[in-house]
Structures are given as C-alpha cells and as structure tokens.
C-alpha cells in the first residue's frame, strides 16, 4: 500500500490476527507505528527511527498456540468427554476428528516457521508481536533497516572493545509472560471444567437457577459493554476485557450447541427410547453451565469495574 498525502503510513509485512486482538506494523515518515487492535479500541506505540538501536529476530517456535486453536481443542475435548460419558457410538468418530485436529496443528507448527522479533531503544526492549512469521519478519526487517539507516546515517562497524568494560552477562531481552496475560486463558477452562464437575454432582437443580443465570448474565453483559467501551490501558484491565468477551461468546456458543444437541436428541435418540434421559441431562447441564458462566461473568465484570474506578481515581488524583 502506497503512502497517501493525508495518510503518512505504509503498511509493513507481517500481521497477527487473533480472535480478540490483532496487531500490525506501519512505517511512517519518522517513526514505526505498532497498532494493537482490541476490537473495540486501538492502541498505538511509536518507535522513532532515530531512536531504534537494534532489532533482534530469533527463529523460534512460539510457546503458546493461537487462542482460536486452544478454544477449538478445548471445546472438542469437552464434546468428546460428554459423548464418552453417555457412551455414544459417535464418540469414536469424534475421537478420530480430535486426532486429525491435533495432527493438523502439529503439521502447522512444523510447516510455518515462526519467530520472535524484538526492538531495542534507549529506554528498553519491546516485542513486536505482529512479526511472528520468519518470511514476513524478513521482509519487514529489510524495509525498516533501510529507513533507519537513511535516518541515522551509514552503519558503523560494531565496536567490540567497549564490551570488555562491562559484565559479560545481562538480563535476557525477552520478558516472561506476566500473570495478567496468562490469567485470561486460565479462567475460561476453569469455568468450563467447574461446570462439567458440578454437572456430575447429585445436586437437585431448582427451576429458579435459570432465572438467576439470565439476570446474572444480563448484568454481566451491561457491565462488560461498559468496561469494553471505556478502554482503559493496563495489561490486567485488557485481560479482564478479553475474559469478559470470551465468556459472553462461549455462553452463546454453549446455548446454540445445546439447541443442536436437543434437536439431535428429539430427532434421533427419542425414537430409540433412550433420548429422554439424555435430554433431561443436557437441560440440567445447560442450567448449571449458565449459572456458572453468569456468576463468573458478574465477578469478572465487577473486578473490571473496580479496576476502572481505581484507574480513574489515580488519574484524577494525578
């Protein structure tokens, strides 16, 4: 894409697409713009060409698989678990499909070469999340290098003699993932697993549980929309936003999946005289899962709201 007069940026190769976030890199007249899209807001970070000291490209498999793959695998495993519990013959087929998904994922990891790119300035280092494929990172790196050298002047031979004066070991550039970043993906499986465990408990389910679930989820949705629109910064707040959105989406998927199972039970299982029991079990599961998801939604939404108020308080105090 060519730079327009009213738009001083040119897109660099390498884009990272996720379910909840995406990132891209743009080359401006005197800086590189890193854009992180959180669906409801965009966060920008500028690296001025004059301040860039080094760029590292490390060919390395990324530790975490993409969120879409994780969610698909979790849902697939849960479906496999449920079908195994009811001893349905379809469980075998699902097992083969699960194996196929895992094989495709392994092949995906082997075929596409991934890397980690880090940019260093005088103030520290940052990871460029959008440059996660080697080919795209090479192309982007070439363009960035040319522009940086145009701005800073010709490259000088690297001075080795200064290394003798300083210790030979420094802190690694790559920072470990913070607890806030991993928190988002820990809550989701926890809620689903808890729902599965509670589903097996011999606890009578009152009819009013469904009403409570609806009320809780309504409150959670309103709070989630408010906090999502507010768009305050901070890793913890962004993680909470991601959790809220994920849980709302999972709630929707859960209900539609249950509708499909209900239809299947009505059409196939009930004529075989073993569908009524399965149907009642799934309805109970729907109630309990809705209660758990609704309760977790409310809890997360309240934490996010408290965090938002705290952040605003700090801003006002400052």
């Amino acid at each position: 894409m060519m730079a327009r007069p009213d738009f001083p940026y040119r897109k660099l190769p390498g884009v990272r697409h996720g379910i909840l976030t995406s990132a891209s890199l743009w080359l401006g007249t005197d800086h590189i713009l890193h854009v992180k899209n959180t669906r409801f807001a965009e966060e920008y970070r500028r690296y001025y060409l004059n301040d860039i000291e080094a760029i590292y490209l490390e060919k390395k498999a990324r530790f975490l698989p993409p969120p879409a793959v994780v969610i698909t695998l979790i849902l697939g495993l849960i479906a496999l678990l449920v079908l195994s519990i009811i001893k349905h013959p379809l469980a075998v087929s699902i097992g083969w499909i699960g194996l196929l998904i895992v094989s495709l994922f392994a092949a995906w990891l082997c075929i596409f070469r991934s890397c980690i790119c880090t940019i260093q300035t005088a103030l520290g280092t940052d990871r460029l999340g959008c440059l996660h494929r080697v080919d795209g990172a090479y192309a982007a790196l070439d363009q960035i290098t040319n522009r940086v050298l145009e701005t800073q002047g010709p490259a000088q031979p690297y001075e080795q003699e200064t290394q003798a004066e300083i210790p030979q070991r420094v802190e690694p550039v790559t920072q470990p993932r913070s607890k806030e970043q991993t928190f988002g993906w820990l809550v989701l499986p926890f809620v689903l697993m808890s729902s599965s465990i509670v589903m097996k408990l011999p606890v009578p389910i009152p009819d009013r549980s469904f009403g409570f679930a609806l009320a809780a989820m309504s409150a959670a949705v309103v709070l989630a929309v408010l906090t999502l629109i507010a768009g305050r910064g901070g890793a913890r707040f962004r993680a909470l936003q991601a959790v809220q959105l994920a849980m709302i989406l999972i709630s929707g998927v859960e209900v539609y999946a249950l509708v499909l199972i209900n239809t299947y039970s009505q059409a196939v299982l009930i004529p075989r005289n073993n569908g009524a029991e399965v149907l009642s079990m799934f309805i109970s599961a729907a109630h309990i899962a809705s209660v758990w998801l609704g309760g977790a939604n409310v809890a997360v939404a309240f934490v996010a709201a408290a965090l938002l108020l705290r952040t605003q308080g700090r801003v006002n105090t400052a």
Partner: protein
C-alpha cells in the same frame, strides 16, 4: 554497549551482529538475526550549561527566566530554552502545548489510544445473534444503541490507519432491524392481549 542474545542473555560475537543471514548464538545455539544501528553507539545529546547562560541583551526562556532562548514554540510562539524545546516530527513545541495537544488529542503523533465506535456499533447489531437466545430482550437496548453510535460518531476520528465506515452502516441497519422486530413484538403482544376473550365472573 553490549549486544546480548535475546534468548540466553550472553554477549554476542561480532560475526553474529549485522550478518546477512541467520547465525547461531555460541552459548545457546538459537538462530538469530541481529541488526544493530548507529544509535546504539552514538553519543547521547548533552546540553552544556555554558550554552544556556543568558547574556546581556539576549531573549530569555518563557519558563526559565535565567536561561537563554534558542527557539520559539510553533504553536503559541513562546521563547524556549534548550531544556524546554521539544522537537516532535520537525515541529517545535513548548511543554504546555505538548501537554494540551496530548490531552485534547490535537496532535496526531501523541495519540496512543482510539476507541473504535464502528466496531462497537456492529457488535451491538450482531449481539442478539451471539448472545444466548433467552437474552433476546436485550434488543431493546442494543438496537437503539447500534443506531445511535453511527449518528453520534460518524464524523469522529476512527483510526490512525485506513478504515472504511461499512461497520457503521451494517451496525445501523442491524440496529434498525432489531428496533423493528421489537416494535413488532410489542404490537403482537398488545394485539394478542386485546384479542383475548374477556372472561367475566358470574
């Protein structure tokens, strides 16, 4: 300055730095491509105090009366010393204009966050499909909001990178459809109640 391996933290030998292709770190054997730029070894800018002393008949800085002015702010025209001068993409600004430009979002290069109202409108339009079926009554809220946001923020700056307004259009259409559906639902309920035969007690 030292150039360290991002994986193990050990210093890298010169043959690894600015190589044309991937090289292996001698310590951890990770594949690396390291580009080091002149800014790494460049001497940092130091302002000497002698250049800031105010001489007789020279203009002083607006913020520091005892310092010599070296330039003026391109926004407000105040004289600035070397300490107060902020060069932002070729534009010289004083600290006051820089702060107001950042808070009022007048300077594009200072913005680090923008809310995407078009995506919000689109999500509100699609929300009844994504949410569980029993929560369809939320259309009373999401429909009007999906229509209101495009009307309110159509001309508001959306994103620093190119972005069309199709999300606003689709969100508004879906919001209108939700509103029509809700009105239809209310009319049907009222019509049904009125059409119900009244049972009078004997």
């Amino acid at each position: 300055m030292i150039i360290a391996c991002p994986n193990c933290g050990r210093s890298l030998p010169p043959e690894v730095i600015n190589a044309a292709e991937l090289r292996i770190c001698p310590a951890c054997h990770s594949n690396l491509l390291v580009r080091v730029f002149p800014a790494q070894t460049r001497a940092k800018a130091v302002i000497e105090s002698s250049t800031m002393e105010l001489g007789e008949g020279e203009a002083s800085c607006f913020f520091h009366m005892s310092k010599r002015a070296v330039c003026s702010c391109s926004q407000c025209g105040r004289f600035l010393c070397a300490l107060c001068e902020v060069n932002l993409s070729g534009t010289i600004l004083c600290p006051g204009c820089l702060e107001s430009g950042g808070t009022k979002k007048k300077i594009r290069n200072l913005e680090n966050h923008r809310t995407l109202w078009d995506t919000t409108s689109l999500l509100l339009g699609v929300a009844p499909v994504l949410l569980p079926f029993p929560m369809i009554y939320l259309m009373f809220l999401t429909g009007p909001m999906a229509v209101f946001l495009p009307l309110r923020y159509w001309k508001a700056p959306s994103s620093l990178i190119p972005r069309t307004k199709w999300r606003f259009v689709v969100g508004a259409i879906l919001g209108l459809l939700q509103a029509v559906a809700m009105v239809g639902l209310v009319v049907a309920i009222v019509w049904g109640l009125r059409a119900r035969p009244v049972v009078r007690p004997r």
